[in-house]
């Protein structure tokens, strides 16, 4: 399940680019691999995240995994629902389980992220 209107990272985050705002989450594949998610640690609004650097943690019954920033910018909103309902990431990774909204420092260059087709290819190679 790889929505067409999103961009992706090799570390399984997704990015929705809208006017002046970028919404970030983890992919269906990522939540499946993690299993039941029990805790999500996110940056605070006002924090600056930098492409490729760690920006938080997702903990599941199996493991704790780092989240990596897909873009550079300032965090303007976080999904506070996840504090009490981390299962939203499992149930709707592309919807109610979104993680943070960011005001990017500069325009997003789609070439620096993976297209849906490229992400599909990545999952294919990781399946074997």
């Amino acid at each position: 399940m790889i929505p067409d209107d999103l961009l992706y990272t090799r570390t399984h985050e997704w990015v929705l680019v809208e006017d002046g705002t970028v919404t970030i989450g983890i992919t269906q594949f990522a939540q499946e691999q993690l299993g039941d998610i029990t805790y999500v640690e996110l940056p605070e609004p006002g924090d600056v995240i930098n492409t490729g650097e760690e920006m938080g943690t997702v903990e599941s019954v199996k493991a704790a995994s780092e989240l990596y920033a897909p873009v550079t910018g300032e965090v303007i909103e976080t999904n506070t629902e996840l504090e009490t309902a981390p299962e939203l990431v499992n149930e709707a990774p592309y919807g109610e389980g979104w993680l943070i909204k960011v005001r990017p420092a500069e325009d997003i260059d789609p070439e620096e992220l993976l297209s849906p087709a490229e992400y599909h290819e990545l999952l294919d190679t990781q399946a074997h």
């Binding site: 691999q33 039941d36 029990t38 903990e59 019954v61 493991a63 981390p86 299962e87």
Partner: protein
């Protein structure tokens, strides 16, 4: 099963106590006394014996069943070590006795045990010096990380990073972080450390590389000479996590290879009981360059043969534990090493490796084995094929519990999907290993024929399938007594 409180009957006693001449309340200030008596269970002796015997039977331990829990080395702990640890000369010794002026004569035996054990561990690992103080493996890692920091600080090095391979034990990055370092992950290639990836990650800010060998996949690191050379080329130190030492006992001395710091898990390699959260012992050995930084106290042998505790080590990182570590655990390991001797310890590693390879070969056509080559003391299998049919590693693990076998470690290391990490240890017979293969074969056949039956396991254990998600999401950490 009812709790001991549920079984309480008002007024029931085990023994009838004599009339107290003075009550505890006579000696305590009124404001420290409780208003109402504590709610303690009231039971007869037989009630208590039956309660705790029943509880113990619901527990799972290596004394009762096979326990192939990868990474944890749940081998059988021979009972003679308990006798050594129970000797009254040791158990009646107060740890402060050694500090009393003139009381050294009463503690010579205990000090000699510590001194000898340090020497034996040096001989086994090829290190120059040991501290016995760390009280667990991760505590040893923290001690080692602090020694590394002390070394660099003393030399005026500006080192901020510690490298860990992606197959590292989770505690390695955690310990380095607590010691104040930034952790950098390096990717493995073909299941072992990739020297090229290591070279790329190495710079003047790297304080150390923390690794274990064999690694978490049970694979021997085949590029050790190159790794040692690379790490030392930037004046970084090489840390050996001794969790898997039982695979190389008597075969390789890590100090000879070039490791600078090593921690041992006496509660794994040297057969002291563990699994209930302790007590452990994680002694740390160092090369000559690091000996000045070891924690205090140190045990010294004087020229006249007497043993004393010495505290005058200005470069020491200080105290890492109260007193001298988990002394009872140290005694058991000491007894174990002396009983097995050089030849016996070598047989430990040979049999541990043989048992793991026997199981790997017998299981290779039943489960996916991602790095299927000669392994050391453990190997990692994967249930990816079964998962396509809805039966995951977790389900197979639970089904094994139903058959009186402890589950292997599952979902670790993270670099193998649906993984089951099997460590049979050297103390299991071929009959036990064969029974494990038979039971697992049966479960895998059932996974094909009737996945639901495996998904429903366990049904014969004292408690059924626990809701692990709820346990992590809705934690209740208090009980109102």
């Amino acid at each position: 099963m009812k709790t001991v409180f549920d079984k309480s009957v008002p007024g029931r006693l085990g023994t009838v106590p004599g009339e107290a001449r003075r009550k505890a309340a006579d000696f305590l200030p009124a404001d420290l006394l409780r208003a109402a008596p504590p709610r303690l269970p009231e039971l007869g002796e037989l009630d208590v014996v039956r309660h705790y015997t029943e509880l113990s039977l619901r527990n799972f331990g290596v004394d009762g069943n096979f326990y192939p829990l990868g990474s944890c080395t749940m081998k059988y702990n021979p009972k003679f070590t308990e006798c050594a640890a129970a000797l009254p000369g040791f158990t009646d010794l107060h740890p402060l006795t050694a500090q009393l002026k003139g009381a050294g004569q009463y503690t010579q035996g205990a000090l000699e045990v510590m001194y000898d054990l340090e020497r034996l561990l040096c001989e086994i690992t090829g290190m120059c010096d040991f501290t016995l103080h760390p009280m667990a493996g991760a505590h040893g890692e923290l001690t080692g990380s602090m020694l590394i920091a002390a070394y660099h600080r003393d030399k005026g090095n500006k080192k901020t990073k510690v490298l860990c391979p992606d197959s590292a034990h989770g505690t390695n990055p955690a310990s380095a972080t607590i010691a104040g370092f930034e952790v950098v992950n390096i990717a493995s290639r073909d299941g072992i450390i990739d020297p090229d990836a290591l070279a790329e990650a190495l710079d003047d800010e790297v304080a150390a590389l923390m690794m274990t060998c064999p690694n978490t996949l049970g694979l021997f690191e085949r590029n050790l000479p190159r790794i040692v050379e690379l790490v030392h080329s930037v004046d970084a130190l090489l840390y050996y996590d001794g969790a898997n030492l039982n695979a190389i006992l008597g075969k390789m001395r890590v100090g000879d290879v070039g490791f600078d710091v090593v921690h041992l898990n006496l509660h794994k390699t040297f057969a002291t009981p563990h699994g209930g959260g302790g007590p452990g012992a994680g002694p740390v050995g160092v090369c000559g360059r690091l000996r000045d930084y070891l924690p205090i106290s140190r045990v010294k042998k004087l020229e006249d043969g007497r043993f004393v505790l010495s505290y005058d080590h200005p470069k020491s990182i200080g105290y890492m534990s109260p007193f001298y570590g988990n002394f009872g655990v140290l005694l058991k390991a000491y007894a174990y090493i002396l009983r097995l001797g050089r030849e016996g310890l070598t047989r430990v590693s040979e049999n541990a490796v043989l048992a793991a390879n026997y199981l790997r070969k017998r299981l290779e056509d039943k489960l996916e084995i991602p790095y299927n080559r000669t392994c050391m003391h453990e190997f990692v299998a994967s249930a990816v094929r079964q998962a396509e049919n809805g039966v995951r590693a977790l389900d197979i693990a639970k089904a094994l519990l139903d058959r009186g076998i402890h589950a292997p470690t599952i979902y670790f290391p993270l670099i193998v999907k649906e993984c089951l990490m099997v460590e049979p240890t050297e103390t299991e017979s071929k009959q036990t290993l064969d029974r494990f293969v038979d039971e697992l074969t049966d479960i895998l056949a059932l996974a094909d024929a009737d996945p639901a039956a495996v998904q429903a396991a366990p049904v014969h254990t004292p408690v059924g399938r626990l809701d692990e998600t709820k346990a992590a999401r809705d934690m209740v950490l208090t009980h109102d007594l």
